[in-house]
């Protein structure tokens, strides 16, 4: 038996208690007597809640294992308090068939540090022309379909995908970026891009696609998820769709809750990601959207790239930053949600979306548990991930994952004085 001692437990009610875990389940919450054989984890001052769920990570396997692989990505996820991650399908080859989906699933199970659920592409080969092997993917356990990294620009293709996936019960997730408006943009289109002379990627490129997609949701009834929402105008569109009762959800990435396009002025490609960092007004709107539930959950868009790939001029650099190991602390620092809302956005809402059992910790819950200390400050420097392209390097953030349990097994325990 493992006893998580003295933390603030996020159950049906929030209270200071011990949590006992045995045989993969929560077996007691309250004052637990510790036996000689029991492992005790001190949770005083920390929140004890359902394990974090990340709907958006790039584990790079198969095909780009020099950036990350399922084993290293799983380790990073556990260190970040995650118990479930959804692997994006833009691998090489892409996850557009059941065979590759099963490979990713099996590698995740083999590693055993986090539940790795593959997502599948919408279009075959992510080419935006024909439907991927949707039935096959569904049968392999895929629940989220996306061409992430690219937008499904062809409205006809997207409509057919939504019709088909609606019937399966899956979710269409969109990386929303109108290719014509985005052009060869490198950063948010605004005063900063104008001054730096870089081609801009307007907010409207995202909003227009989400607007269009929601029309298709009306038409098809398909569940639809907006990935890494970045523009405040997009939030208005999502809010209206939710008010109309449409099955629309949205995620936000931690970096969009903190940084603005001013970070590009450093010329450091660590500030390069798609969608791009936008303005103060967008950051404020995203924070408010996460608080009020317009945005359902946080998703890292963990996108590892090797140092040599980022050691180039900004415009030549690949897009994306890592996020698994800093996500919880970053969100806690940027937004400062109360404990219940924090776990709702980090764990419960994304778990529900995936159809997992994730919910408040009660006796009988699957013992996917994260112990998070909301007051412990640290400065990221080194990472468990194979890559270190993090915008938080050298920036103090507050909040630290003290322990992660997956199915009752400890997958991560923070060592005092350790860098991670």
């Amino acid at each position: 038996m493992i006893v998580l001692k003295g933390g603030t437990v996020i159950g049906t009610e929030q209270r200071i208690a011990d949590v006992a875990v045995d045989a993969g389940r929560v077996v007691a919450i309250g004052s637990v007597d510790v036996g000689a054989q029991d492992q005790v984890i001190d949770c005083s001052g920390a929140w004890v809640g359902p394990g974090f769920v990340d709907l958006h990570v790039h584990l790079r396997e198969p095909g780009q294992e020099w950036k990350e692989d399922i084993a290293s990505g799983s380790k990073a996820a556990a260190a970040g308090g995650f118990t479930t991650v959804v692997a994006m399908p833009n691998t090489e080859p892409p996850i557009d068939s059941g065979q590759i989906a099963r490979y990713v699933f099996d590698r995740g199970t083999e590693t055993g540090l986090v539940r790795v659920i593959p997502s599948g592409t919408i279009s075959l080969g992510r080419a935006g022309a024909k439907l991927a092997h949707l039935d096959d993917l569904w049968a392999a356990g895929v629940r989220i379909f996306t061409d992430d990294g690219d937008t499904v620009a062809d409205s006809g293709l997207l409509r057919r995908a939504m019709d088909y996936i609606a019937e399966l019960g899956g979710i269409v997730a969109q990386h929303a970026e109108d290719p014509g408006l985005a052009g060869r943009g490198h950063m948010h289109e605004g005063a900063v891009s104008s001054r730096l002379g870089m081609i801009g990627l307007p907010s409207m490129a995202e909003t227009i696609i989400v607007e269009r997609d929601i029309r298709l949701v009306e038409l098809t009834g398909c569940r639809y998820h907006v990935q890494h929402v970045s523009a405040r105008q997009t939030l208005d569109v999502i809010r209206r769709a939710k008010e109309a009762g449409l099955p629309v959800t949205a995620e936000v990435a931690p970096h969009h809750l903190e940084f603005t396009d001013r970070l590009v002025e450093t010329m450091n490609p660590v500030a390069k990601m798609y969608p791009p960092l936008r303005t103060e007004a967008d950051v404020a709107a995203l924070r408010a959207g996460l608080e009020d539930g317009t945005i359902d959950c946080v998703a890292t868009d963990h996108a590892p790239h090797s140092a040599h790939e980022k050691d180039v001029p900004f415009e030549e650099a690949p897009r994306g930053v890592i996020g698994l190991e800093t996500a919880a602390a970053a969100v806690n620092t940027s937004v400062g949600l109360p404990a219940v809302t924090f776990f709702e956005r980090m764990s419960i809402a994304p778990g529900r979306l995936l159809g997992l059992e994730t919910g408040p910790l009660v006796v009988g819950s699957v013992a996917d548990v994260t112990v998070f200390d909301p007051n412990l400050s640290w400065t990221p420097g080194t990472f468990v991930s194979k890559s270190a392209n993090s915008p938080w390097i050298g920036t103090e953030i507050t909040g630290r994952v003290r322990a992660t349990l997956l199915g009752g097994q400890v997958t991560f325990e923070h060592q005092e004085g350790a860098s991670v």
Binding site: S193, G197, M267, D311, P313
Partner: protein, 304 residues
Amino acid sequence: MSLLTIEGLPAAEISRLLDLADGFVEVLDRPVPKVPALQGRTIGMLFYEVSTRTRMSFERAAKALSADTMTFSPSGSSVSKGESLKDTALTVGSMGPDLFVVRHASTGAPWRVAEWTGLPVINAGDGAHQHPTQALLDCLTVRQHFGKVDGLQVAIVGDIRHSRVARSTAQAMATMGASVRFIAPRTLLPFDVEGWPVETTCDFDGAIEDLDVVYMLRIQQERGGGDVFPSIGEYVNRFGLTRRRADRLPEHTMVLHPGPMNRGVEIDPAVADGPRSLVTKQVANGVAVRMAVLLDQLSGSEKS
């Protein structure tokens, strides 16, 4: 200390560099236009973009100061073998230059070279971002002709959105007290000039009668295929410095162009070669300005 951008450089600092450059105009006019000031110094030139005039101007400036140059340009070099900018900068850096001059198609590349090598860097043009020595030579040319920059009405006309010259020269001239206007179709204006010391307009003809300086920018012909304006012909009609338009300029108004010119597109040949043109003066001043900047970078910095 590098010269990466003209942004934030105070007027006194620009004036000081222009004064120094004025001195070098005289040096370049001597029977032996060469001084030993930077003898024994080596300048690493990384030119990742084809640029005849800027590269030659820097080389001429370096040699007139008796510095040695090592010039790297990508054609037929290790870039075609896949070497990164970082590796090239570190490789050339190991050969002992005192300073880098960097031109690159990507914004910020000179900043990265400075960061990687720890050496001072002069930005010789990065993407559509900055070209500080061009801004200084433009200010010098205008100051020589008018005796001042302060109070002049300056129009920069053409593809401002994609122009590092427009960004740098507008900032420098505004800092020196000029009123700067950008004139272009909206598709060639920057998306947002909030906080810039400039005004924008799409009406060249409406502005033409109260200008002291008209600065014409090169129009990349390939943009005229319906990319950002319908055709070259339509562009010339509204934004070209044609003879008819030049005739409407006040008597004293002067014309600048950073080169290379598209004669018959943004500027009529008769105007380019006419009495209003300061174009050749700009090129000559370019050498003096770069001498001033090189000297300024390397004086007081004992070789380690």
